[in-house]
């Protein structure tokens, strides 16, 4: 049977006879990797561009159309030691990138305008106390207006648009007071300039926009980055399937290019990427990712299989009933939708702050105007003082308080092996006080481990590992990995559903079911572990039994202890059988556990805890966990999780240890603390500055100094979030 790989779905035309593909690459961390990959790929003839993006962990490749097969790049990267996956940019990510660039352009315009207006303002400020002629001052004011007005009209767009949207929807947000403040400040300054007045606030208005755009850009940039991570994760899931393109010819194609009615081949050791029905073949399948159940299910003609199931022993032909986006169990989808709706009701800290902020500020400004009029001032003077209050209270530091901390904290978490999938994840994670763990794949490692390798002579074990290389069975893969086997045994024959055999130095060796190796007698001698699978190995007349199971993550016990030390409640909710869950709970000394739980039960449990006022952190990996991940206050998934769960989880952690869970909680708690502190700093500054503004003695110089002073203070405070990730467990 011929297998080809078809990447045409991902290749796009770059014009001028060139073709372009984006690859997501695993394990690119440093300059060395970057240079190695770029040189390695550029050395292929006809490649015109090979550029690594270290921020997004991607490679952009261009080559002369029709000369190369994209599969060759992936093979070349494999040779260099990197796993690469073709990558399709989601439309949401394209929008984020465009938005990010727009904000940066606005920021550039505002920053340059600020610098130039400042250059004109400082002579005016110093001229006011020395010998500047009124005509010269007017000239400088007009020049400032010439720069500031068009710059504000352009760079203020993000705020004006958002404020307009909020007002049309009859609500208010942080951008409403910002827009009102900026427009009033600019308008008043123009009027004052026309009347040859001493003070104009062009500098304050444009500087305010600059600082706010910095905050807005940082916030957007973090969102863009998390989106890029999510996009890469989707690509790394390697959602491809072997589709029959002829009676005897199969092609490895991306799931996006598979349609209902197609027939795909599912080989042993492969994970199914589609929903469908078995039309030919017989095998055992592992549905633990979908149901949490670790016992294998027998699949034969007519058995439905779901995306995420692992095929264990035999080869299956599957007729696709739903592909790509539709590959979900209906029940899970429905639960997921409900849960996601509930979550969008969460209100971010910044929104809560602004909801309080706007009415207070506007009321203060209005009272100032009325107060001065009653005190006998002219309407003109009263309005000027009122606008000065608006300018000085504009939420400059408030706009920076949260994004700066988020940017620094997400960088620190990234270093600790935690990727953010949602922008407000930090705030919600910091509030978590109860953790629910799924067992399979979360507390335990997703791959199998040989438990009794120490009981078997090293040379025998090595031989078993080499033999295991010839099989696709996941148990065999575990044996091969545990033995560190590199070179397969020559002439090994796999018997479907039985095992592998070969002849070495005239002695027959077999690896597989105990019956296949004639080792039934030895099975009883091994202590029965409810979760373990048993595989036998025979070399001539010598027989050995290997037990293989999913081991706990290496630091699971330490992490559970660390969580308890932080006064966080812990429980296990698993779809697996009771003995298996009980054993794990016992080892980890977690008193609260439930086994055989359905997705709906998991949600019910979370709702119950919510009603008791607990903020639940759900850590899970299976497709059956996806709805509960969405229902929980905050959720985390390991990188090995089912695609759907990973897309739903707020955070994703990398690697084998469980420690990132604790590290993320610590980092986010510290970050939330700093955010609150920043908000208080910003409010404290307002409390000091507002009386000065109300009294009417504010000059543009005071406004500018106060604004930049408070912003810098807040930014410096945010940098303290950097040290958050240092102490793990």
């Amino acid at each position: 049977m011929q297998v080809t790989r078809d990447f045409s779905h991902y290749v796009r035309d770059a014009g001028a006879g060139l073709q372009h593909i984006d690859l997501a690459v695993e394990g690119v961390h440093c300059a060395g990797c970057m240079a190695k990959i770029e040189r390695g790929l550029s050395a292929i003839p006809d490649v015109t561009l090979a550029r690594v993006n270290l921020t997004d962990r991607r490679v952009a490749l261009e080559w002369k159309a029709g000369t190369l097969d994209p599969g060759r790049f992936i093979d070349r990267l494999e040779e260099l030691g990197y796993k690469a996956y073709p990558f399709e940019t989601e439309s949401a990510e394209v929008a984020e990138v465009a938005e990010s660039r727009f904000l940066l352009r606005c920021l550039g315009v505002a920053a340059f305008a600020t610098m130039n207006v400042m250059m004109l303002s400082i002579p005016v400020w110093s001229g006011n106390v020395s010998d500047m002629l009124p005509e010269q001052r007017d000239f400088f004011h007009w020049l400032s207006a010439l720069i500031a007005l068009p710059a504000a009209a352009y760079a203020g767009q993000p705020f004006f648009r958002s404020a307009w949207r909020a007002l049309s929807a009859k609500t208010t947000n942080m951008d409403v007071p910002i827009s009102i403040g900026v427009i009033l400040a600019l308008g008043m300054s123009v009027v004052e300039t026309i009347h040859h007045a001493e003070h104009a606030y062009f500098d304050a208005a444009i500087m305010l926009l600059t600082f706010l755009l910095v905050g807005r850009f940082l916030d957007q940039n973090m969102r863009r980055r998390t989106r890029a991570v999510a996009g890469n994760l989707a690509a790394l899931k390697a959602e491809t399937a072997a589709k029959f393109v002829g009676p005897d010819e199969i092609s490895q194609v991306p799931v996006a290019a598979i349609y209902p009615g197609d027939i795909v081949l599912l080989r042993p050791g492969e994970r199914c990427a589609v929903d469908g029905t078995v039309i030919e073949g017989r095998s055992e399948i592992d549905q633990s990712l979908i149901t949490g159940e670790t016992l294998y299910v027998t699949a034969e003609q007519g058995t439905p299989v779901y995306a995420g199931s692992m095929n264990i022993s035999g080869t299956l032909r599957v007729r696709v009933s739903a592909a790509s986006e539709a590959t979900l169990l209906a029940e899970i989808t429905r639960l997921l939708d409900n849960a996601l709706q509930a979550r969008s009701r969460y209100m971010r800290l910044a929104d809560r702050a602004s909801r309080l902020y706007a009415p207070v500020v506007h009321a203060t400004a209005l009272l100032t105007i009325l107060g001065w009029v009653i005190a006998g001032a002219s309407w003109h003077d009263a309005i000027v003082t009122g606008v000065a209050v608006l300018i000085i209270t504009c939420p400059c530091a408030l706009g920076l308080a949260i994004p700066t901390v988020q940017t620094v904290a997400s960088g620190a978490m990234f270093k600790a092996g935690v990727l953010l999938n949602a922008g407000d994840a930090i705030e919600r994670l910091a509030e978590a006080d109860h953790v629910i763990f799924d067992k399979t794949g979360t507390l335990t490692l997703p791959d199998l481990e040989v438990m009794n390798a120490a009981d078997i002579p090293a040379d025998v074990f090595e031989l078993a590992g080499r033999l295991a290389l010839s099989s696709h069975h996941p148990v065999a893969a575990a044996v091969a990995q545990a033995a560190g086997a590199r070179s397969p045994v020559v002439g090994a024959v796999e018997e479907a559903g039985q095992g592998v055999r070969a002849v070495v130095d005239g002695v027959e060796i077999r690896l597989g079911r105990p019956s296949f190796c004639g080792a039934e007698a030895q099975v009883g001698s091994v202590t029965l572990d409810p979760e373990a699978s048993i595989v036998a190995f025979s070399k001539g007349t010598e027989k050995f039994i290997l037990t293989v199971r999913q081991g706990l993550r290496p630091d699971a016990q330490a992490v559970i202890a660390a969580l308890k030390a932080r006064n966080i409640g812990i429980e296990i909710l698993s779809g697996d059988r009771e003995p298996a869950v009980k054993a794990a709970a016992h080892v980890l000394s977690i008193p609260e556990w439930r086994a055989g739980v359905t997705p709906a039960d998991k949600i019910a449990r979370i709702e119950e805890l919510k009603r008791r006022g607990m903020k639940v952190l759900m850590v899970g990996d299976g497709m059956n966990d996806a709805p509960s991940l969405a229902a929980a206050h905050i959720s985390m998934s390991p990188i090995s999780a089912a695609h759907l769960s990973q897309a739903t989880a707020d955070l994703v952690f990398l690697g084998r240890p469980l420690a990132p869970v604790v590290a993320a909680i610590d980092a986010s708690r510290k970050a939330l603390h700093l955010m609150r502190q920043n908000l208080w700093l910003a409010i404290g500054y307002n409390v000091l500055a507002v009386p000065v503004a109300i009294s009417g003695i504010v000059t543009p110089l005071i406004a500018a100094a106060a604004m930049s002073g408070s912003s810098i203070l807040v930014m410096l405070n945010s940098l303290r979030a950097r040290s958050a990730s240092r102490e793990i467990v």
Partner: protein
């Protein structure tokens, strides 16, 4: 004070030049990979004896 006739346009021109340079750098994708750019600056040049590399 006639010096203003020269200084003010000069200042505006310099500011404008800076802005144009920034917008150009933005458009040519120089802010797309800030992490990578930091490393590229200190990367060694390609050794000349390697196979000819197409750019």
């Amino acid at each position: 004070m006639e010096i203003l006739v020269i200084l003010v346009p000069l200042a505006l021109m310099l500011g404008g030049a800076g802005l144009v340079a920034f917008l150009w750098s933005l458009r040519s994708g120089q802010y797309d990979d800030l992490d990578g750019a930091a490393w590229r600056a200190i990367a060694d040049d390609e050794p000349p004896q390697e196979a000819p590399v197409k750019r």
